[in-house]
Amino acid sequence: MPKIEVPEKLFFELCGRTYTDDEMNDIFPVAKAELDGHGDGTVKIELNDTNRPDLWSVAGVARALRTYESGKIPSYDFFSSRDVTRDCGNRHHYNEESCLGVRDFSISFAAEGCIVTEELLVNLIQSQEKLCQNFGRKRKTIAIGIFRSDLITYPIHYIGADPDKTAFVPLGMTEKLTLREILEKHPKGREYGHIIADKPRYPYLFDDKGETLSFSPIINSAHAGAVEVGDRNLFVDISGPIIDDILLAANILACDMADMGFRILPVRVHLAKDTKYGREITVPYYFQEETQCSLDFVEKELGERLDAQECRAALQRMGVSSDVEDGVITIRCPEYRNDFLHAVDIVEDIMIGHGLARFEPVLPADFTKGQLLPSEEYARKVKTLMVGLGFQEMMYNYLGSRREYVDNMHISDEKVVFIANPMSENYEVVRPSILPSLLESESVSGHAVYPHRIFELGKVCYKDENDNSGTVTRNNLGFLAADNQMTFNDASSYVNTLLYFLRIDYRLESVEDDGRFIPGRAAKVVADGKVIGVYGEVHPQVLESWGCSMPAVMAEFDLDLMH
């Protein structure tokens, strides 16, 4: 979930009013936001909707609140669309064919008429970062460069360049490096280089005089790409492989900058390939499609009939203009949003705009039968018996180390499921058995009064090539008893008593080659021709590995085979 920190003053200015913390707590949910902290002139906001990148900026949150409270939809006059093309003056931006397959699209717009302050710059960079990191999948699908447009000569050119023959001074450095050298030497190159490293050419943006703008998505040039406090005129470039995503990112930034006082200047972008919006797009560009939803559907979803007027008013508070004709709502998606995938997305905006508190809760009318799983019912039966036998129920984590689950148990790791990306070697293995968990208890509980009698009913997981996943999860019972004297006969008594009351007829078979038990003092429990469990005296080599000094017996049963 993206979190942003915004200057209180700027935020309240953009909102058109101030808020107390309580008021923020009350109003923020309409933007699916939470107040994460407030102090020292800074408001911390957490944004929960990962499909609403327009909210990840001070201007975006303020716009949503302002619109909700006023019911007035903000209007932006700089958008071109299928029907309207705004004047772009001499501002042209050419994508050349050499960029195809490298990073297909680069688009841009310009902005002027506002002095860049420290505060504004910080917030602009924050919005840019959130868009690139969260929405742009760490620059993979969206990379944004902001430049000083006074230093730029149109038209702009975007090409796939030779990594070894193209060189410039990257931001944050003083020497000229080739694109390939930037990947190796520049911190941003090392961080994001993997996105384009294996391409034959690298994305490269420069102006008509040959001045470098950026090596997108890695780094701007030190010259035009170093925006500073006091600058007035900016140029914003957005590159990526998905046209809708970069158009949306451009629209969001343009609206944010407009809200902060900039005048947005469109740029005519000449793409290197055709898109559903044509090959030439004037950016910012309204590309969103109309979405529809019937009043009946709204009623079915929300459980309450709202009339056309109520729906329109609700949507309006969410910044969405709409028409209702013949019981069908048609919405116009705001320029800075693109989250109406389905009619249900309209329903949700109506719900929020109408006010969630206005819907009266009512229980579902259908009768359904409640029921535990048979495995749960059986486990409870087993639990009652184990408690009656004097055992303490334990509950354990299912992830552990190789040392605990394999090495200490003196078993092979052949059937053990390993994690490919463990966070630490302490959580690297899915437990194949309950027994190591019980032994861990024994190893840390020398201070607890003996005898120890413990058990767990839980899941284990191990490889099984017959299953589609190559693994199986089983519901097992494991128990362990430890004391000065604890023998195979004690274990036999527990097993015999348990299985008598579970109505399981069984026979015992000797256990061969099992490092966990003392040879000749362990048994496999066979019922209906299947091995349902194993028990015996814990081998002293196992006790030693765990650092236990008390003799112990242990047993494990596969409950799924028993009921």
Partner: protein
């Protein structure tokens, strides 16, 4: 100190009832008058002085001479010197070895006894180095010794009751710590005398008043029941506040009890339990829930991948094709989809279940209409383990399937959970966001102890989820964060404690 007379031990009771203020109380008196054993006297004295009911009035040290086994034998057959003297009188002179053999004495005994006879002039060696008696009678000291032995047969002799000659005579026959061969054992003794304190007298009167005699029955035995002897007396009461010895019972785990309670609660609300494997694939964990494959929560830094097998063999059809199309262009779900090319290899990649919603997804193709389902599922997240994050943890999730279920039903359900499961005082709903539900609702509750917190997330499954999995009716989906309540219930504040391996801590744990 406040004395509860009922709690006094019979040894204390009988002593107190027997004595009066000003009297000297000694163990000798208790032995003779109450039939106590010395050990019992000591117990009674130590308990009663500790309680302030007796006080020590004097303490006297003295030495006792007590006959050893050897000494008691000598009382019958005579001292070695006496026997040698008699033998020589009767049989005439004899060599010392012959004397030893004839009298059954050790050579050394004969040597020292003969030495004492010659010293007193009662015997000497003749020319042939044989022993012979020289006097008419036994030496005076031996006579004295004989008398002392005789006297000691009745009771040990106090040293301060002996004459100077007697002391000298007895010292020759005694060794400290009683060497086996000597006649007397020397015992250093101390006699303590106690008197009743004022408080002791008060307690005594209370005992008399309450008619507590110290003769009450202790253990009820089978014999007492069989013979009916219990009818002839009363039973000694037990001290109610005496320390209790510890039992270690077989017990269920308090956290498991809580989860079981939640399960029972949900079953009572008409929910049917579901479950599934720990290892799942990206398809069911994310794709089927309409989470785009590039969604940030599906990153390598959020879920645990399985090392081997990396991929599931296959994904069930027709669900795979339907879900893939829904992601790409919405398919027949009425959605425009995510507009990217679905990755058929990624979808088979195996991971540790990261959200309980997998169970809901897998239930959808086989769900009854109407149907209500729930599961408490162990889930795994790529998180640094700390007080609020576990490597694995339980999620409580479920769905409600029904032709006409809607938002208001969802709110009704959440309110039911809030009061039934969480004991909430107030409920508040706020819009939420989950990739697989729209609308999405969070429910916040005001708990009597914890105050306001988010109890759970919920929503109506997106049609992209339900329709792709063959369901054409709305499905309400919900999840409850019950860990905070579980911790409060168990009086804990660290999630890691829920799965502690420490036996003692689990033994002592109890729910509220």
């Amino acid at each position: 100190m406040d004395i509860e007379v009922k709690n006094l031990h019979p040894l204390e009771v009988r002593l107190l009832r027997h004595v009066s203020p000003g009297e000297a109380i000694t163990s000798d008196r208790l032995v003779s008058e109450l039939g106590y054993k010395i050990g019992q006297c000591n117990q009674a004295f130590s308990w009663l002085t500790a309680k302030g009911l007796l006080s020590e009035s004097s303490r006297e040290k003295y030495t006792l001479y007590e006959l050893t086994d050897t000494g008691r034998a000598q009382a019958g057959e005579g001292l070695p010197a006496e026997r040698i003297f008699s033998y020589l009188k009767e049989h005439g002179a004899a060599s010392l070895p012959d004397l030893a053999a004839a009298l059954g004495l050790e050579q050394s005994e004969v040597g020292s006894a003969f030495g004492s006879l010659t010293g007193a002039g009662a015997a000497r060696l003749d020319e042939e180095r044989r022993a012979m008696a020289t006097g008419d009678g036994l030496p005076e000291e031996v006579v004295l010794q004989k008398a002392l032995i005789k006297k000691a047969l009745e009771a040990p002799l106090r040293e301060d009751g002996l004459t100077v000659q007697e002391k000298k005579a007895i010292s020759r026959l005694a060794k400290k710590r009683g060497a086996a061969g000597s006649t007397f054992k020397v015992i250093e003794k101390e006699d303590v005398t106690y008197t009743l304190t004022g408080e002791g007298d008060r307690v005594k009167k209370e005992l008399l008043e309450a008619n507590i005699t110290g003769e009450e029955f202790g253990l009820l035995t089978p014999q007492m029941i069989q013979t009916g002897s219990w009818k002839n007396g009363s039973f000694r009461p037990y001290g109610l506040n005496a320390p209790v010895s510890r039992l270690i019972p077989g017990r269920t785990n308090a956290y498991a009890d809580y989860l079981q309670w939640v399960k029972d609660k949900l079953v009572s609300l008409g929910f049917e339990e579901f479950d599934g494997p720990l290892v799942v694939n990206e398809f069911w964990n994310g794709d089927a829930l309409f989470m785009p494959q590039f969604h940030s929560a599906r990153d390598i830094h959020d879920v645990y991948y399985i090392k081997d097998p990396v991929h599931a063999k296959s994904i069930e059809e027709p669900w795979l094709s339907r879900v893939a199309r829904t992601h790409e262009d919405g398919g027949d779900t009425g959605s425009r989809g995510w507009g990217y090319t679905f990755d058929h290899e990624f979808t088979r990649r195996q991971i540790m279940r990261s959200q309980g919603t997998v169970l809901s997804a897998t239930q959808l193709p086989k769900a009854k209409i109407p149907g209500k389902y729930f599961g408490i599922a162990r889930c795994f997240r790529y998180d640094q383990v700390d007080a609020t994050h576990g490597a694995d943890f339980y999620q409580t999730e479920g769905i409600v399937v029904g032709k006409d279920v809607n938002l208001r039903n969802l709110l009704g359900l959440l309110r039911m959970f809030a009061t039934e499961v969480a004991g909430a005082e107030e409920v508040k709903y706020v819009p939420g966001y989950f990739p697989f539900t729209e609308p999405s609702i969070e429910v916040h509750i005001k708990h009597p102890v914890l105050g306001w917190f988010e109890l759970g997330g919920s929503g109506i499954f997106r049609p992209e989820v339900t329709k792709s999995l063959g369901l054409d009716v709305p499905v309400l989906a919900w999840g409850l964060g019950i860990d905070r309540m579980a911790l409060m219930h168990l009086g804990l504040n660290d999630l890691r404690e829920l799965f502690t391996p420490d036996i003692e801590s689990v033994r002592m744990r109890r729910g509220n």
